[in-house]
């Protein structure tokens, strides 16, 4: 496909999924009612539903999708591997362990009431601690391979910690269910607090990433050649790791673990519009947002208690397989 059609196409899809996110749900609203609710018209119920419930949810979904899409592109360029994903260095598992620790230990320590802020905070702390640990472990030359293997080891370690907490709370049904819900990601009952927690910082990190696209092109074809062509590779790698960690950590903090977005979205867009990162970065932000909002719409349309992380994988997995089997 020609890159020229990408921006109008993606923006249209984003506008549609965003509007649909505001219209669909238990109370079905027409697009006209949604616009009315946003601009001050419509009745009080519609205004409350749209402004206080659906708008923050949609904004969080949009930001989380954009963050994961962008983070996926960064990791794939960084590791020069189209199979890399945002969680590769243990950011998501660290965030998960942090959040699960608060959920599991909170009631014992008596701060369950504060989990509205405690949960995202613990998740961000866990995510950054994990990245910090990977960088420390892989220090000294910090070759890509070593970084990758350190990430694999740390992911296993943090996953074990999460599983341990999950089994120790098995007797406490409430806590256990909360943990499981969180581990499978979701956007329900996201409030304006969540928007302020995640969206501005995600926006800033995305904007800081955009000018790095050209240098990422060179990095994605080899570290040494990139450096020989004038890229400050050490600085670029540091910037990419920090920004991608911030994006994944914040996404995890406000929406739990949502897999597959960061892997599938950049991959699809690369196949459609080529690997140029100056385009792929913004496209993946838009594409991630579209994919996440669409998946969230599915979770609320099907009354099966489907979780967001389950839907992204249920759709992303088979689609990815189809993509790989398609003759190029």
């Amino acid at each position: 496909m020609r890159p020229r059609v990408a921006v109008p196409l993606l923006l249209t899809l984003l506008a549609l999924t965003f509007l649909a996110s505001l219209a669909f749900g238990e109370l079905r609203l027409s697009f006209g009612e949604v616009i009315g609710a946003l601009t001050g018209g419509s009745d009080e119920v519609a205004r409350t539903v749209v402004r206080d419930f659906r708008l923050p949810r949609a904004l969080v979904g949009l930001a989380v999708g954009a963050a994961l899409g962008a983070s996926g592109v960064v990791m794939q360029a960084f590791f020069r591997n189209p199979l890399a994903s945002p969680g590769l260095l243990g950011v998501s598992s660290g965030g998960a362990l942090g959040a699960v620790a608060v959920l599991a230990l909170g009631p014992m320590l008596g701060f369950a009431a504060a989990t509205m802020w405690a949960l995202p905070l613990a998740s961000v702390v866990g995510a950054f601690a994990a990245t910090g640990m990977v960088l420390m472990l892989a220090q000294r030359g910090a070759g890509t391979e070593r970084l990758l293997l350190s990430g694999v080891a740390l992911n296993a370690l943090l996953g074990a910690g999460t599983s341990f907490l999950l089994t120790t709370t098995a007797g406490h049904f409430e806590v256990n269910a909360q943990i499981l819900f969180w581990l499978m990601g979701g956007l329900e009952s996201r409030s304006w607090e969540h928007v302020w927690m995640g969206v501005p910082a995600i926006l800033v990190a995305c904007l800081l990433l955009l000018p790095l696209g050209r240098a990422m092109d060179l990095l994605s074809l080899g570290e040494q050649s990139a450096q020989s062509l004038g890229v400050d590779v050490r600085r670029l790698r540091r910037q990419l790791i920090v920004l991608s960690t911030i994006l994944t950590a914040l996404a995890t903090a406000v929406a739990g673990i949502v897999g597959f977005v960061g892997l599938v979205v950049p991959h699809v867009l690369r196949l459609a519009f080529g690997p140029d990162h100056r385009r792929l970065l913004p496209y993946s932000m838009l594409g991630g947002a579209i994919f996440l909002l669409a998946c969230d719409l599915i979770t609320r349309t099907f009354p099966l208690g489907l979780r967001l992380g389950v839907v992204t994988a249920l759709i992303g997995g088979p689609f990815f397989l189809w993509l790989l089997r398609r003759p190029r």
């Binding site: 189209p82 030359g141 050649s225 062509l229 004038g230 400050d232 140029d276």
Partner: protein, 244 residues
């Protein structure tokens, strides 16, 4: 008239622990330099250390300036390096990979089309690099280095995977660049081709054991000691060899 010009490439005590021992050398502008040595002698290490791509001890200067004082983008304008491996993971079109050579120039596209033509890649310009043969990928790497317009060119085994015609063309290109005032260092295994260079550097076990004019350096004795083969010199063969 006789101003003392700094060597294009200067190294003193250049060392990489376990791989390269205190190499010192001066290469002038317009010199075509062959770098030879057995496998594992440290050719790639020396080339990378000269290009500033490896943490190394000692001093490296480009055009009289200490490498540590040259900003990254300026490095990209002064020296081009072509590695032995040419793997490309992402399906960039050939012309875009070559255009990356202009990164340090703010992506000003001048010289890209010429570089493509020079390496016989014009007809492949829109093909994804992931769908090229090994030799074609090497030519893409060379074209990208050429597109930088850098006056120092370091090519690590550029012809090892090329067919005879393209190998010849690459060698001729190296000679043309040197005649135009560039310093071109080419590592290679074909000792016969090395006789056609202005200067030969011989590495053995990480030490620089030969540095000078080809006929002075590549003697039967040195070839026996370094490469462990008995060389027979057949003068009449030399002009027919595929070399610059």
């Amino acid at each position: 008239m006789s101003t003392v010009t700094a060597p294009a490439l200067h190294a003193s005590g250049l060392a990489v622990p376990g791989r390269l021992e205190a190499v010192s050398l001066d290469l002038g502008p317009g010199e075509l330099v062959a770098l030879v040595g057995p496998n594992g002698a440290g050719k790639s290490t020396l080339v990378q250390a000269l290009a500033g791509l490896l943490p190394a001890e000692g001093l490296v200067q480009w055009n009289g300036q200490s490498l540590s004082r040259i900003a990254m983008a300026e490095r990209g304008r002064q020296l081009a390096w072509v590695g032995q491996e040419a793997h490309f993971e992402f399906a960039f079109p050939v012309c875009e990979v070559v255009a990356q050579g202009r990164y340090a120039w703010g992506d000003d596209p001048s010289g890209v089309a010429e570089a493509l033509a020079e390496l016989d890649l014009t007809f492949l310009a829109d093909r994804p690099v992931t769908r090229l043969s090994g030799g074609e990928r090497h030519r893409v790497g060379l074209a990208r280095a050429l597109a930088t317009g850098a006056p120092i060119q370091l090519w690590d085994e550029p012809v090892a995977q090329l067919d005879v015609r393209h190998a010849l063309e690459v060698m001729r290109l190296a000679r043309r660049l040197a005649d135009g005032g560039s310093t071109v260092v080419v590592s290679l295994h074909d000792l016969r081709a090395a006789y056609r260079f202005d200067r030969v550097l011989v590495l053995d076990h990480g030490r620089l054991v030969g540095n000078g004019k080809p006929h002075d350096v590549l003697t039967a004795t040195l070839i026996r000691e370094v490469f462990r083969v008995e060389a027979t010199f057949v003068e009449s063969l030399v002009p027919e060899l595929p070399c610059p």
